[in-house]
Symmetry: C2
Subunit: 408 residues, 2 copies
């Protein structure tokens, strides 16, 4: 029997895990998965952890349990050496590969706006979501006890994409539920969503953008379009218009980019994403595959595919199938994205959803679609049960159910 | 209308919260609750957080939501000045009172055994339970990747009371479930329960003690009775017998005592507990009431009442009713504890329970009683729903359900 092909998958996100699940079925292939964390993060629900609607355990799933039989190495890949066919970890360890899949997602980017790095909170990891939750809840404590002014209860969210829309809606609903615990101060809380472009959810139709704005305003979010941030300080956000928004918490959801450590591997497109060929390989380094947010792939001649979970999952599966084809001496297939549509939730029973066929939902039907899809896609059976129970309770007990406690 | 009586309650545990809930019903009384944390901790389930069976959010409930209308101050009371009728917080703030209820629970105590403080993990707070969980789960990662020897998978629990029995049973079941994620190393894991006295659960009948030992051994716990710890090092526990137990994790559940900061307020009984009169006041300082673990009260002429939640709750309610009686010029009543029995869980479908009437349950019936009681007593509706869902899943998916992920 010939030596199996060794495939190293870097990143246990949506793309990497889908690739590993397919690769491990092939008897000719040995799969090694590398990630800094031993869990898969269900990142589309980070905003619910950040606003206390879900416990963090609900959106993390042990990687080893997700891909039994696959060798998992916990480590941070800092360098790829395509000549020697090795990746190097932060601790100095080298792992050799025959084929490499980079599925390393994206990181927040501040566009160099002064003060963002120091004063705004990002929401790309559980640690960051936890930080937002603690800031939001602790601010109520601190204002209640006079350690912070009431203006600290104001929240500014920057970025009108799905993440910004979802987090500002969730913050507004959290603020509404705080009246019972902090009756004296709760009505000083507010949330403002700031978007530099002319509308929210730019990847959606104009109609969905309008619905999203309307529904956010109905639950108390102030939406500021065509409004750019000039700089930030500890206690306020300065807009390019000269207006100053006082804020105790600023959530930065305005932009993401591929990690900058891969920049020397090949040509990059917008947001530092590595340009890949039709088969999802680096054109000049054909044994390095790139999937998900890290990859720039244009299948229709226009902009690269969006940085969302469905793209990453389809790319991960496709790269894996092409590697299996290679190993079996069969023909590889070019990647084509099957767009099943997009959705964003706005609050309890409010969402927008649309498909490329022109189906557009908003309000409760869109929310139900969102709910069903997220439950189906949550990785573990256990997580699914917990999330459903928590959501059911949130939904039934709205206004009387307490927020998660501040546990430090 | 006369000025209301100001009652300060220190400690938002079982005793303090029960007191506050009764006091706030009286129009003649103003209640102020002080605690270091803004949440009530359901401490009897800490061992489930420590072993990854429940997320920490499930056992913490926001204090302000539990007692709406009561002024809550987050702070650490470091001193009581009975002459001036004030308590002093760590930050220097003073709060004056007419009547004071100390409900400050207990802290772990190491009996001065060398190395315990530095090397064993206690389990009195969420932070400590989280630390145990991280140690347990990270040890699997570290052994898997060769950073720790396989002996690190051995766990020693010191103390054969309810906490020690519950945590060692839960660790054994967690270890059994790890086979799927770590098939190469999981069978090197073990748990040893060490108790200095001649039997487990000394407050139970001999029959229940025997059952507990038998059931722990059935799920793989090694039980060592009449075995005292001499000293501890980072990697092993030295027993008085000369035997050395290698251990990557040592949980210290051998003893608790009242906080030492109250020692100058009055006479203390065993475990530094403040001796109280029949009405639950300090004999020499009659406007200071003490309830729960901090109080030593003997209602039958024998040992002080045990440091358990039912005693604290009954004491809290009783002190509150006596204060209301005082405020209304009515007669106070002496405290009598109504013992409804005690129980300890050993594992999935295994527990022991007994009542003072001589009813003794073990195995599944005792476990069902334990389950029902804990669900009824969990503070929040939401927490109850989440805990039930998590337990249902744990129960149904035993052996296939993944552990909580290591989230840092």
């Amino acid at each position: 029997m010939p030596k199996p092909l060794k495939v190293v998958v870097v990143g246990a996100g949506f793309g990497g895990l889908e690739a590993a699940k397919i690769l491990r079925e092939s008897p000719r292939i040995e799969v090694v998965m590398v990630d800094r964390h031993p869990y898969q993060l269900f990142s589309p629900l980070l905003y619910q952890v950040a606003t206390g609607a879900l416990p963090e355990d609900d959106i993390a799933y042990p990687v080893r349990a997700a891909i039994p039989g696959v060798t998992f190495i916990r480590g941070d890949v800092v360098r790829v050496d395509p000549q020697r066919h090795t990746v190097q970890l932060f601790d100095g360890q080298h792992i050799d590969y025959d084929q490499l899949i980079l599925a390393t997602g994206s990181v927040g980017t501040t566009f160099g706006i002064p003060g963002v790095e120091e004063n705004a909170l990002q929401m790309k990891s559980i640690a960051e979501a936890r930080q937002i939750k603690r800031r939001l809840l602790n601010t109520y404590e601190d204002v209640q006890e006079g350690r912070l002014p009431r203006e600290a209860l104001r929240v500014v969210v920057v970025g009108g994409g799905p993440t910004g829309v979802e987090v500002s809606g969730a913050v507004a609903e959290m603020q509404a539920s705080m009246v019972r615990e902090y009756p004296d101060i709760a009505d000083h809380a507010s949330v403002t969503l700031v978007e530099a472009g002319p509308r929210l959810l730019p990847s959606f139709s104009q109609q969905s953008s309008d619905h999203a704005k309307e529904e956010l305003e109905q639950i108390g979010v102030t939406v500021k379009l065509a409004t750019a941030v000039d700089r930030m300080y500890e206690r306020d956000v300065h807009l390019k218009s000269g207006e100053i928004l006082p804020a105790g918490t600023v959530v930065w959801a305005a932009g993401v980019a591929a990690p900058d450590r891969w920049a020397d591997l090949g040509a990059t497109g917008p947001a530092r994403r590595l340009i890949v060929d039709d088969f999802l390989r680096l054109p000049d380094v054909p044994d390095v595959w790139v999937v998900g947010d890290t990859a720039a792939y244009t299948d229709s001649g226009t902009a690269p595919l969006p940085m969302v979970a469905p793209v990453a999952m389809q790319m991960g599966r496709h790269a894996a199938r092409n590697i299996i084809a290679l190993a079996s001496g069969k023909l590889m297939a070019p990647f084509r994205y099957v767009d099943k549509g997009q959705m964003a939730t706005i609050g309890r029973r409010r969402a927008v959803a649309e498909t490329p066929q022109g189906i557009r939902l908003h309000g409760t039907p869109a929310w139900l679609a969102w709910l069903g899809l997220h439950v189906v896609y949550l990785a573990g059976g256990r997580n699914r049960v917990s999330v459903l129970a928590d959501w059911a309770w949130n939904y039934l007990a709205w206004g009387i159910g307490p927020r998660r406690a501040i546990v430090e």
